[in-house]
Amino acid sequence: MGLAYRYTFQRRLPYLLLAPSVIVLLALISYPLAFALRNSFWFWNLQMGPAPLYYSGLDNYRMVFQVTPFAVALKNTLLLGFLGTFAQFWFGMGIALLLHTHLRGMGLMRAALIMPTTLAPVVAGFLFRYLLEPKGGLLPWLLAGIGFPVPPQGFLGNANTALFSIGLVDTWQWTPFFAIVLYAGLLSINEEIKEAAQVDGATQWRMFWSITLPLLRPIAAFLVMIRFMQLFNSFDLVFVLTSGGPGTASRTLSFNLYREGLVNYNIGTTAAMTWIVVIIVSVIINLYLFFIYRKREW
């Protein structure tokens, strides 16, 4: 075996070893997307027939906007995604900083924090459905006790508070996840950097913005991206808590997809909606990555 051949082989070996995984991964991603793309141009409604009936051009895309409450679902989904991620990040950051103070009882707190994230969202949904029940629910009772205006139809039954309530339950469940991961990030920061800043007279506030946050940036950026995508696909909580109501007040894109796909069995429209969602999420995530990592390699 010649030296040049061995060199070439060794250079290509990693690619060869990676190839099966990459091919399988691409197939798993691309096949369903390609299948959905093809279906999005066909009239295929299982209520009308078991197989695609005819090529329908862009009709399914038109139906998404004409028949389903797509615009309001998109608005709700974006609100839930952005506000939920924002709230969970900052609450999580606050808790992580608190854990990092090494106060008494923080060990127990760390163990307890993980508990909400271990609950299935459906279970959390049912739990809060009872807690938010206007007739006898604990939260309305407590809030009414401190003079907070509780809507007569309950937080889940009021068009102004239903989506907010879903976000609140999601925040209750997933803030600890942020807290624990950010706490792990805080532990990884070299204390000497902070000590040097302290010697230079930096305040705690300045140290947080100039040292802690920048050093947490890679992990925080990843966390935010993952949670935003999860929130963008929120279904379980919406289904259990409000079923998208009242009216369309808490309707999300995932709930729209569920209705169109698993209730109406309109495969063509569902496929078109899937592709619209894929495009929206891809644009948001790529813009996010561009701004977060534009000066870094990732």
């Binding site: 009308m48 139906m63 409450p69 206007p134 007569p152 139809q153 889940l156 109501g245 007040a249």
Partner: protein, 489 residues
């Protein structure tokens, strides 16, 4: 449309071997015909409704009589539909007997996913097919002049009201029979609600009523009753031929109904805008609702404090049932008739055993046995057979059966919620608009205008306007004729 039948030869092979055992046998004796199948097992997919609990409690009787093992699996409504459709699309023999919602019949039958039961019925005299209440068959089981399923639980709608509250408020009892309901109108109904709303009864501030407000399906189930009583029809012509699915949902009658529906909501707990079926029933059983209308299973379910809990509710012996009012005194009435039936997937490998089970479970004896099951209270009175309504034992347990049967006889499941193809898509947008009107997000006029537009878009998008497929004159009279024909009459 595919309509499969078993061959006469196959049927006679099984039937002939058992025919000698039929004469003079006990009610279950006729099932001995399949005893030879010995180790046969069938899989039954049902839905977690109250009747399922009763059915599971008596299924051993079927196994004892036939030797056929029955594996019952209960799923939620959406899960059942998803599982069935997946099984049909992949042509896998997931189950031998399935619970079918009346709204799925047209889809399943037209796609050939379930098989017609006509041949089984016509060749099996002990099916006692003529005993079924025709309105139940018509609403739950027939499509294009074939019987695809047999009803196992039929639901009409009717009124429940608090007798102690009525007495305290000096209001006369409501009519429990159509014969006594000549002057009983929806305006009377609203008048009573306004009179009892806010009344203090033994320290409890009463709501006049409660609605089922959750969108999209639950609210349609309750609203469509009021709307149909007011004369609303969904389409220009259906189920009578020729079918014309041009929507007529934005009508003066429906506008009046929606405005009155909002009045109903104003007399209900505010949170009922999110109520599912059992939420409304449970609220009545908790004691602060004066009167409401609902599906007839709640005639017995409200005896429980919670849904199927078995704990007696505070309203036991304090409520009565009544017939629904009409729009005008002595005017026409149409009652929502829904429920569940049992069908046979075309892919079933045990079709004879499956038929035996369907026949048994929907038969008069098994239905009576289900009605007599007393686990956590009596939990089944959703009969579809005249003989069960005439049964003295059952009437002693369920004293409201007379009222329920009268509502059934006025029932028309093909008008109130027409089981036309793509019904579920229409119901989805309709329920959403009603709910939005209740919450004040849109006006009644806007809600119905939007519904009309969306109906047209959906129906045109699905090639239902104009309707290019053959229609069938799907009337109650034709179902009665089919029933007589299959009964050998």
């Amino acid at each position: 449309m595919s309509k499969q039948g078993i061959s006469r030869r196959d049927f006679l092979k099984v039937g002939g071997a058992a025919s000698a055992a039929l004469a003079g046998a006990s009610p279950l004796g006729s099932l001995a015909r399949v005893a030879a199948q010995g180790d046969t097992a069938i899989n039954v997919l049902t839905v977690g409704d109250p009747w399922d609990l009763a059915l599971q409690s008596v299924t051993d009787q079927f196994t004892e009589a036939t030797g056929i093992t029955v594996n019952i699996e209960s799923l939620g409504y959406t899960a059942l539909q998803a599982r069935l459709v997946n099984a049909f699309l992949t042509q896998s023999a997931d189950a031998d007997v399935i619970a079918v919602d009346q709204m799925w019949i047209s889809q399943y039958a037209d796609n050939g996913w379930i098989r017609s039961l006509d041949d089984f019925i016509s060749m099996d005299s002990d099916a006692n097919f003529d005993d079924f209440v025709p309105e139940c068959l018509y609403s739950l089981s027939t499509w294009r002049n074939s019987v695809w399923t047999l009803p196992i639980a039929s639901y009409a709608q009717g009124i429940m009201y608090r007798t102690d509250l009525f007495e305290a408020a000096g209001i006369d009892p409501l009519p429990s029979s159509v014969a006594d309901a000549g002057m009983w109108t929806w305006e009377d109904y609203f008048g009573i609600l306004e009179q009892i709303n806010g009344v203090d009864l033994d320290g409890t501030s009463m709501y006049g009523t409660t609605v089922i407000g959750a969108q999209p399906v639950p609210v349609v189930h309750m609203y469509s009753q009021l709307s149909a009583s007011y004369g609303t029809r969904w389409f220009t012509q259906f189920p009578e031929a020729p079918w014309d699915f041009t929507p007529t949902i934005n009508s003066d009658a429906n506008l009046a109904a929606l405005n009155d529906w909002k009045r109903l909501y104003e007399l209900s707990p505010p949170e009922s805008i999110n109520y599912l079926w059992f939420d409304a029933g449970t609220r009545f059983s908790q004691g602060d609702i004066g009167m409401f209308y609902h599906w007839t299973p709640y005639f017995y379910l409200v005896n429980n404090e919670g849904y199927l809990t078995g704990t007696p509710s505070p309203v036991v012996d304090k409520f009565e049932t009544a017939v629904l009012p009409t729009l005008t005194a002595g005017g026409d009435q149409v009652v929502s008739l829904g429920g569940w039936s049992l069908g046979m997937p075309s892919t079933s490998a045990n079709q004879e055993a499956a038929w035996q089970f369907i026949k048994w479970a929907t038969g008069s004896e098994a239905q009576k046995a289900m009605g007599e099951v007393n686990v956590k209270g009596y939990q089944f009175a959703d009969f579809s057979r005249q003989s069960n309504y005439d049964d003295a034992d059952l009437n002693a347990i369920y004293p409201f059966l007379g009222t329920q049967l009268e509502m059934m006889k006025l029932g028309d499941g093909k008008v109130v919620r027409p089981p036309a193809p793509i019904y579920t898509s229409l119901e989805g947008v309709y329920g959403l608009q009603i709910n939005q009107a209740m919450s004040g997000q849109v006006s009644s006029e806007q809600a119905l205008g939007t519904t009309q537009t969306l109906f047209e878009n959906i129906l045109r998008g699905n090639q239902m306007i104009p309707y290019g497929v053959d229609s069938f004159d799907d009337t109650l009279e034709n179902t009665k004729a089919l029933q007589a024909s299959l009964s050998g009459m």
